[in-house]
């Protein structure tokens, strides 16, 4: 009966309840999305590369180097020469190295020039190696391996022939004519920018620019990743690279550069969170104001329930229950809405920003957030509940 009274009284005031509910849904959705994106971006970024101890490229900001080499965000400032790559990676301490050459695209997907070591050594997440879903790695200049999203979106399979263009726009006007590539393999999904990448050999990349002359080593590459035999040597190698005389190059530790990124994002995160909290607070105050203003019109109801034997505390709880019902409805609708939004927007986020946001928002973090929302709703809801209580005590 208690629940019935609360529920039916809300239905009876549906116009104002629905408006309040909408405000609540907007604010809770903002809060959940911000929190979800925050956590997922971190996870997505942190799982993009594992196993590499240093990333080495032309001297620039360490964040810049990290962003363009690993996340394919932004454009490389400068290349480093092939001889520098060979020189540094020949060092005794180095277990493996992977060269990266960026700057071209295929229908909006970045083309990465690398060598077979990429498939052997590159790992992501909890040290997962790259696995072929279909086919094999490239072995010839005109062979190409696709990330899972590229293959899926463009409908390619092993054996398909594609044309690669110079530059990173998806428009076709500066297509390098006459260099068709054959797809030899497609990688399993990784949830990292690898999925959005078209992989060719360094020779293949040369061929894009000059289809007549593509054999031999490239003149330069964008960056390379190295792993050391012993991680103890990381800092000394970093120092050596940073003091490299022949060319201005720099080495960064991916973890350190990432934490720099988080620090930079920290203020933004806090601001977004703060705005989210304010929006929620205003929606909750709106809810309380709506209930508070209806206490007067409910005086007969209060009197009636009192005469039937309800204690003033019952009326306090009734008002709180109404707050919780609205909040619960708001939470459910928001979760559904945000889940739908991410499920639909996932592909776009991955394509445009190289960030993989899972639509699975039903995490412990969201549960905690929901509890906080419900908790603050009961707190602000105590105000109209108290008004009900006071009116119940004094007829």
């Amino acid at each position: 009966m208690f629940l019935k009274i609360a529920y039916k009284s809300l239905v009876d005031r549906k116009t104002s309840v629905v408006m309040t509910l909408l405000a609540l849904i907007v604010s809770i959705s903002v809060l959940i999305s911000v929190e979800h994106i925050r956590v997922q971006t971190k996870e997505s970024f942190a799982s993009t590369v594992s196993g590499a101890d240093l990333i080495i490229g032309a001297r620039t900001g360490s964040l810049n180097l990290l962003l363009y080499s690993v996340f394919r965000v932004g454009a490389p400032t400068n290349n480093i020469s092939w001889s520098t790559y060979e020189d540094i990676s020949a060092s005794d301490e180095i277990k493996w190295s992977i060269p990266f050459s960026l700057g071209d695209s295929h229908k909006g997907y970045r083309v990465l020039g690398t060598n077979q070591d990429y498939f052997r050594y590159f790992s992501y997440g909890a040290k997962h190696p790259l696995v072929f879903a279909d086919g094999r790695e490239f072995s010839d200049a005109f062979e190409v391996v696709l990330g899972s999203a590229v293959a899926r979106e463009l409908g390619y399979s092993p054996g398909s022939e594609i044309l690669l263009s110079h530059g990173i726009s998806s428009a076709d006007f500066n297509l390098h004519k006459g260099s068709p590539f054959t797809v030899t393999g497609i990688l399993e999904p990784t949830g990292t920018p690898v999925d959005q990448t078209v992989h060719v050999s360094l020779q293949g990349l040369k061929a894009i620019h000059n289809s007549a002359q593509y054999t031999g080593d490239p003149e330069s590459i964008t960056a390379f990743m190295v792993a050391l035999k012993s991680r103890i040597g990381v800092f000394s190698l970093q120092r050596t690279v940073n003091n490299y005389k022949a060319e201005p190059v720099m080495a960064i530790l991916p973890g350190v550069a990432l934490s720099e990124l988080w620090q930079m994002m920290g203020i933004l995160e806090q601001t977004l969170r703060f705005i989210g909290v304010l929006v929620l607070l205003s929606a909750l105050l709106g809810l309380s104001a709506m209930l508070l203003s209806s206490v007067r019109e409910r005086r007969h109801e209060i009197q009636l329930l009192r005469m039937a034997g309800a204690s003033p505390f019952y009326l306090f709880l009734l008002s709180e229950l109404e707050v919780l019902l609205i909040t619960l409805a708001g939470l459910c609708a928001s979760l559904l809405f945000v889940w739908l939004a991410f499920a639909l927007g996932q592909g776009y986020l991955a394509g445009a920003f190289g960030i993989n946001i899972s639509a699975d928002i039903f995490t412990l973090n969201t549960l905690v957030l929901s509890l906080i929302v419900a908790g603050s709703a009961s707190l602000t809801g105590a105000l109209p509940a108290l008004a009900m209580y006071i009116r119940a005590r004094r007829p």
């Binding site: 009274i5 009197q303 309800a310 007829p395």
Partner: protein, 221 residues
């Protein structure tokens, strides 16, 4: 004795004494008409008897229980089980249907009836409310129907005391007579004591006794 008031004094704090009753009694099963003009403190007196308001001083004994010595929670419980109350109007929660409005009486008493819905429907039948309106929300019932549902709720727990506060003032002549007849008959059937408050002395026939509040109340005299 059903109701005994002894040296009852009440004032809202810092205001003049509103009620001062040295002694007023109602015997068990008695039907009392209490006549009082509006503003004479009759609603306050009923709130005191019902235990909604605590007395400033004095004794209130209902059904041989000193309710002035109970705390608020105990008074609420006592009221739920032993007093049926009918208001002047707004007797129903507008968004609950007739049956649910009656079942409110089952919500707060110590002895909750398990077959409450059957009991509510039985009362609605007794009060000759057509079953087509039983499941309609209170706000779509006519005033006459609403007041009959109010009687049904007041009788739900077979209380030994029924208090009616100007229950007919919103009714037309025809409905008023029907209401009075039904209320009187059912009070007899349930052997309930009735305190009926009104400003209108023409309703006073058929009662065992008529008291005028101004005569009982020494405050403001």
């Amino acid at each position: 004795m059903s109701v005994v008031l002894q040296d009852l004094i009440f004032s809202y704090h810092d205001h003049d004494t509103l009620l001062n009753i040295s002694r007023w009694e109602v015997a068990a099963g008695e039907k009392v008409f209490l006549q009082g003009e509006s503003g004479s403190g009759k609603s306050t007196l009923l709130n005191l008897i019902a235990g909604i308001l605590p007395a400033t001083s004095g004794q209130i004994t209902l059904l041989d229980e000193r309710v002035d010595q109970l705390n608020q929670r105990q008074r609420d419980r006592f009221r739920a089980g032993n007093i049926g109350y009918i208001f002047q109007q707004f007797n129903l929660i507008p968004y609950l249907n007739a049956v649910d409005n009656i079942l409110l009486a089952n919500e707060f008493s110590k002895k909750v009836k398990r077959n409450g819905i059957a009991r509510a429907q039985e009362l609605l039948e007794q009060l000759k409310l057509p079953d087509s309106v039983w499941r309609l929300p209170g706000q779509s019932l006519s005033i006459g129907q609403q007041q009959r549902v109010a009687i049904a709720r007041a009788l739900f727990n077979s209380p030994r005391l029924i208090i009616a506060d100007e229950p007919t003032s919103a009714l037309d002549q025809k409905n008023r007579i029907a209401f009075m007849t039904t209320l009187m008959d059912l009070c007899d059937a349930y052997q309930s004591t009735l305190i009926f408050v009104s400003h209108d002395p023409t309703l006073a026939c058929d009662f065992d006794r008529t008291d005028v509040l101004a005569d009982i109340n020494r405050a403001g005299a």
